[in-house]
């Protein structure tokens, strides 16, 4: 298998409760099994209560910092549109963006005091042209029977960027992290997400 020496930076963002941590655990399992050094950083605690959550995931031959340097993300994986836009400046010029086409209104929008930004995918396209991928994560997961699996749909879409990593490795890693009774659903979610982009 061809190995990347350089460190690859994946920035994940979403809303507490969306399963960004599980998503990043899958990434850590996959890339460490593939023989890479990995580091992952996230903040637990207050963020679980519906606040914004971010995870920095890095892999390569040798990774030092657990945090990505501002402006150095190769990938942005956003589980919610506004939470994607919030971190647009973290991405490199030639970085790739995967957006879950899903809105969760923050309190100020609920209260009618501010508007939810419109056309977020278009804002991304303005700067990243063809490198913006919009995935119907929640719709796909809803069809499969549980919107909670949207995070794994996104991981499926994201997996396309790493053709050197075999599908089985992704599936094995998902199995190792998810309770048996929802494994089948999540593997389907992964495969649908993988097909959604390819």
């Amino acid at each position: 298998m061809e190995k990347r020496d350089k460190v690859t930076n994946v920035f994940l963002s979403g809303v507490g409760g969306q399963g960004t941590i599980l998503a990043s655990n899958i990434l850590a399992a996959v890339f460490s099994s593939a023989g890479y050094d990995v580091k992952k950083a996230e903040v637990h605690g207050m963020a679980q209560r519906g606040g914004d959550v971010t995870t920095h995931f890095r892999f390569g031959k040798k990774v030092y910092s657990p945090l990505i340097k501002f402006g150095d993300a190769d990938y942005l994986l956003a589980f919610e549109l506004l939470e994607g836009l919030r971190y647009i400046n973290w991405v490199k010029d030639d970085g790739k963006i995967v957006l879950n086409n899903h809105k969760i209104y923050p309190p100020v929008v609920n209260l009618g005091e501010m508007e939810y930004p419109e056309n977020i995918p278009d804002i991304f396209r303005r700067y990243f042209n063809g490198n913006v991928y919009v995935v119907e994560g929640v719709e796909i997961a809803r069809r499969l029977g549980n919107i909670q699996a949207a995070n794994v749909v996104l991981i499926g879409a994201f997996s396309n960027f790493f053709p050197e990593i075999k599908e089985e490795l992704w599936i094995e890693s998902i199995k190792s992290l998810i309770p048996e009774r929802i494994q089948e659903l999540n593997i389907k979610a992964f495969l649908e997400g993988r097909r959604a982009l390819s």
Partner: protein
Amino acid sequence: MKKVVMQGNEAIARGAYEAGVKVAAAYPGTPSSEILRTLAEKYPEVYAEWSANEMVAVQVAGGASIAGVRAMASMKHVGLNVASDALMTFAYTGVKGGLVIVVADDPFSHSSQNEQDSRNWARFAKVPMLEPSDSQECKDFTKIAFEISEKFDTPVLIRSETRVSHSDSIVELGERVEPNIPIGLDPKEAPKYTMVPAYVRQRRIFVEERMKRLEEYADTFQYNVMEINDTRYGIISSGVSYLYAKEVFPDWSFLKLGMVWPLPKKLIEEFFKKVKKVAIVEELDPFLETEIRAMGFKIWHGKDVVPKMYELSPEKVEQALKGNKFKPPKIRFDTSNLPKRPPNLCPGCSHRPLFYALKKLGLFVFGDIGCYTLATSPPLEAIHTTICMGAGVGMAHGASKALGKEGPGKACAVLGDSTFLHAGIPPLMNVAYNKGNSTTIVLDNKTTAMTGHQEHPGSGYTARLEPTVAVNYEELGKALGVKSIRYVNPYNVKETMDIIREEVNKDEPSLIICKDSPCILLRRAKPLEKFKYRGYSVDEEKCRGCRVCLEINCPAISWIKQEGTTKDGHRRKGVSYINRDLCVGCSVCEQICKFEAIKPIEK
């Protein structure tokens, strides 16, 4: 041996397990809580408990050490303030079985009430402190900390922080090896463990001599590592700050300190000899810098350029040391005005109606720390002080003494069940004893919710989830001398307001206990069963768009701008909307709607 990806806290727990630890105690606190949780869930060989507070945790670990086993206590940074009284004197007595105290800092206060730098405790207590930077080091340093503890007869501090405790990286696993220390208590050792003045003075000499030996040891400590590369520039650093610096200046020379107290004088001297310009990169206080300057070295850069507040990051370190030459990445889109997304109380949370009631009563609320602190944010804005655990109860009493006759009816203290048991009992006893008249409200949600649902002495379960006795708050209040004790069901807003109003107006101490109010995420308490309906929806024919239901700040309720009229002809600017996916049917919005516009959905 097997390699696995582990969180820093899990790796500390693994290190304790491999080091043969027999007793572990902790009080939860972000970012330290997973250490004890991991020990309780994964390693049955280790007795693991949630202690009532951090002071108790250190006492428990200290007692186990004196009985001859390896023992560990873990806590967040402010927890060590609570435990410091025990630490300062265990520093004199020393140990029998290794005694390690893990303290997890929180630069940037991701979820803390302050940003203190725990390294200062090591210098203050005259004990060694190790600082790991990633998960492998978390495990290795924990193991070696026990060896240092026994070899030098001292408690050892391990300092972690958010980005170490809550980062994951690869760890190579090892076997558990129990140390060869005779287990048992020996009365002849009393002079070592009984700190009366005569014995204190003896141990005092020992402490100074121990420090000298530790200083020498620091120079040879295997995790104080010198990396000589480009000799024009060098960085002295430790912990995660080292990783940030190494990331952005991989070709420079480094002195990475695994032990941040005491400092390795000879190594530092050698580094200054080998490298021309030496910078010190550390988060928070100029701890290393002050010490190294005091040794007489001229440093190139330190806190003159490295921020002394908040957490560091690779780009902050790069910017600090490159100065004008640092090129920040371009800002393509201004994100500063995007709608913010602060954390909020969950839909159906029992804290929400209680704080709504306090707000409607116009009370000044001496608050405390827990999920309920989220009631500080608008539009609830129903908490007016948050200092440290237990503080609200003492403060409400002080304020009532200051206000005198004007006091009753103006204020109350509110704190969670775990917080009450941690630090609320002495101040409540104090209210009764000193003839106060303040009201204390205990939010009994049957768990330590904020930090991730840990058990506590009122929850009825141990850390290993065995059923156990639970504190009876009413009996406790009576025993402390409080005569007026009431229960409220916070989901009944009107009744809750009536009872609180009565109690705060009394000229005697009151204790109000929330009942039937378990955390909405605590599955075993079946929190949803008591709700009559599965959810609520807005009747658009009746909603006048008055926004009263928005005052409770429920994530399920939003307001949509939309000019129109109700069925009976009232003009309105918008309507409320309830998100069915989020609503759990707590009925609080229905109770406060003045126009009967909120209707139940049958189960």
